[in-house]
């Protein structure tokens, strides 16, 4: 059995550009990665780094008239960018499900939680409403919503923020997707609730054998949940590797800066050696490494040509000409 199994998700040279009034915004620039079944990839980056856009491109839910997607996305044996309307609808929610940052606006306010889950189940599994309702109840129990039966008939605004996010997770998992896309699902939550949701997601992901991509701007959250971490900057993956390697032995200067900027227990008193300057304007990206203007290591070659991802140790890649171990 030397034949390699195709990964669940294979993204190659993904580019997303938006045309708008201010010209073309290059949100994602040549992103490639693979994800195997049952593994969790943490997509780490600051605002405007292209992580959310990448996720939306995977499901093709970007505004069609403004977004240009190129490259290739293969997921669960399907060529996503080539899917027709019908197959796309069964792919979305069926093979791949997504949870959003703010459940307060990602759940339809005028439909009950139970109906929103049931509708999705009916759509994908073609079961009766009764069976679908039973499935909805089962899902609410699974995400540990107390008195789940009563909650089925609640509207989103009648739930607390914590329960809304759990309901959103239940909704996403109701059709047993192979891949879960989580777009900053804990950012809007309180600290004590965030850790509960992270643990719940970690447990469900293992039990159900799903693969997941977990988008976050918080190194701590990424460290808690990811097997692998991909660090994004200006629409590119600048570092990709096992979570332990990326956090303990970061190679890209941006990753290092980000880690230094992340205040943790040991930081007290000392000045933070962060990253100077601010992220580039994606409508006016220059040639060369996008991080070069903020990089203390940058040399003349960095401004001429963008570095490609190169392997450091097995599975650990980074894109920098000048980084020393």
């Amino acid at each position: 059995m030397s034949e390699r199994v195709a990964p669940l998700l294979d993204v190659r040279d993904l580019n997303v550009a938006f045309s708008g009034e201010r010209g073309t915004v290059h949100a994602v620039n040549g992103v490639s990665f693979q994800l195997e079944a049952g593994r969790v990839l943490g997509l780490l980056g600051e605002s405007g780094s292209g992580k959310s856009v990448t996720m939306r491109a995977l499901l093709r839910i970007l505004p069609e008239n403004r977004a240009r997607i190129s490259g290739s996305i293969h997921c669960n044996g399907r060529d996503v960018l080539a899917l027709n309307r019908r197959d796309l609808n069964s792919f979305r929610g069926g093979d791949v499900a997504m949870i959003f940052q703010d459940p307060g606006v990602a759940l339809d306010p005028v439909f009950t939680i139970g109906n929103q889950i049931a509708d999705t189940v009916i759509r994908h599994k073609g079961v009766s409403r009764q069976v679908a309702r039973a499935r909805a109840l089962e899902m609410l129990d699974l995400v540990r919503i107390p008195s789940a039966r009563r909650r089925l008939d609640n509207y989103p605004h009648e739930l607390s923020g914590d329960m809304r996010q759990r309901a959103m997770i239940a909704l996403a998992l109701s059709c047993s997707p192979r891949l879960l896309l989580a777009d900053e699902p804990t950012t809007a939550l309180d600290a004590t609730v965030q850790i509960q949701v992270i643990l719940l997601l970690r447990e469900l992901q293992k039990d159900l054998g799903m693969a997941a991509i977990f988008v976050t701007h918080d190194v701590g959250v990424a460290a808690e949940i990811s097997d692998d971490i991909a660090v994004m900057y200006a629409g590119r993956i600048v570092e990709l590797g096992p979570a332990r390697d990326v956090i303990k032995r970061p190679r890209h200067p941006y990753t290092r800066g980000l880690l230094a900027s992340t205040i943790h227990a040991e930081s007290h008193g000392a000045r933070i050696a962060g990253i100077p300057g601010s992220p580039p304007d994606l409508a006016r990206l220059q040639e060369g490494c996008a991080f070069a203007p903020r990089c203390t290591l940058a040399g003349p070659e960095c401004r001429l040509k963008g570095p490609e991802l190169a392997q450091d140790s097995p599975g650990h890649h980074f894109a920098c000409f000048r980084s020393m171990p």
Binding site: L59, I61, R92, A97, M98, F100, V110, T120, H124
Partner: protein
Amino acid sequence: MVRYILKRLILSVPIALAVSVLCFVLVQLAPGDPLSLVLPADATQAMIDQTKQRYGLDKPLPLQYLYWLGNILTGDFGTSISTGRPVLSEIGIAISYSLALAGLASLFGLVLGITFGFVAGYRIGTPTDKIVSAIAISGVSVPHYWLGMVLVIIFSVNLNAFPAMGAAPGAHPGWLEQLRYMMLPALTLAAMPMGIVTRSVRALVAETLGMDYVTALVARGATPFDIFLHIAKNAAPTALAVIGVQMGYLMAGSILVETVFSWPGTGLMLNGAILQRDIPLLQGTILVLALFFVVLNLIVDIVQPLLDPRIKRT
């Protein structure tokens, strides 16, 4: 829910009272002796005294108001000067004509407005949207009394398709005949609500389409029809409120249009009352129309939470 309805009902009492005060005060603004307005010019002294007492005009203003209100509450709106019949019965006949006209016009306005609104909202920025929006803004901007004339010129004078004037003659005209007479005034009246409903539904649909929960629906593989249902349910409460208010405006806005078409409703009556300075009739009609508007708002306020779980009903 019962509590909410009760609360809303109780809240409309002070509004209705304030409306009656305004109607009462309005007449006090009229130049000249109020009595001369109520009585025919050749009234005898006995008649004057009798009326004075009957309406309590010898009392101070607040008391006069209470007198007047008492009469209203017992159904005595006074007597029309021009016809000599009780105001209430005059209004009763006219209002049924106005209601029929406003009802038909609302129906036209609603159906066209919602259809246009959805079409434009779904295709915002496209030529279709631009054409529909142009129709809508024309509907809002057109002087309806003029539109009535134009429709008469086209459909009555040139095409001879619909009658230009009045209601169907005879004691019991057929439905179809009645409808033929109502066609032009109803279409005229429908222009404004059509425009307003189109514009608000369009904005609503476009806004809803941009909501995260619609993106989330797409991400769960919802078909365009599923999404349409979600949008419709989200837009319904607001659309209802717009339509309710428009229907009220139609009842009142028909004054000019009824004049153009000589439609025997409250508007035409009001116009006559103004020209003949028939103050009791004028006051009564305004009060009834305003109260009708208050009731309409009440209905909207009660129905809206039924459609919209976001509005808390305690």
